[in-house]
Subunit: 119 residues, 2 copies
């Protein structure tokens, strides 16, 4: 692909607040580690620096994953979905992804759907 980083970022359909959800997936195992939010600048930093950066909606600031915890995410791939409003970032996760210490942020709460459903 020969288009520039800015052309790629311009393809993203951000929300009115300027954000897009970013699914973070361990590149080799396929584990879904967490979901964060990126604005154009967070995506720019993620695409160009090799480290995942989010926009924190609660703190209203950029947040480079691992700067505090050491549990960094090294970018291995990045895809935009067919509606251009969701991001899939494939990473090498160093240490646990979740601030609670679990491997992923989806480990704790099982919503326990009905099993063996049919159509």
């Amino acid at each position: 692909m020969t288009d520039s980083v800015e052309e790629r970022i311009a393809r993203v359909a951000f929300t009115p607040e300027g954000l897009a959800p970013a699914i973070i997936q361990q590149w080799d195992s396929g584990e879904v580690l967490m979901l964060g939010w990126m604005d154009a600048e967070a995506l720019r930093r993620t695409l160009t620096s090799g480290r995942v950066t989010f926009w924190s909606r609660s703190r209203q600031e950029y947040w480079r994953k691992g700067d505090t915890s050491g549990h960094i995410q090294l970018v291995r791939g990045a895809r935009l979905d067919c509606d251009a409003d969701a991001l899939l970032i494939q990473v090498e996760q160093v240490g646990p992804a979740c601030h609670t210490g679990t491997r992923t942020c989806f480990d704790a709460d099982d919503l326990d759907p009905v099993a063996d459903a049919t159509s």
Copy 2:
């Protein structure tokens, strides 16, 4: 887990619009197929019927995946993240997940991040 479906749904921190992003993952391969949105009722239907149901933000209506295309999603698991504001639904995907005919909605657009980044 012995809590009721309603207790489980009540744990979700929906946005002010009453929605939560739902990551849809093929349960065995780990592929991330798509991202959709659920309100409490879409999640209720998903947890209790065995078929994934979304809330369509563009059409403002419920949308049970596969009713038009036949490409249904059979629920195999459902998790809530540590902040209780994102859902991970594990499914058996019948046919392609994407309305464009590709396996996943993330197949088309490679954002081409820098490779071999270091910390």
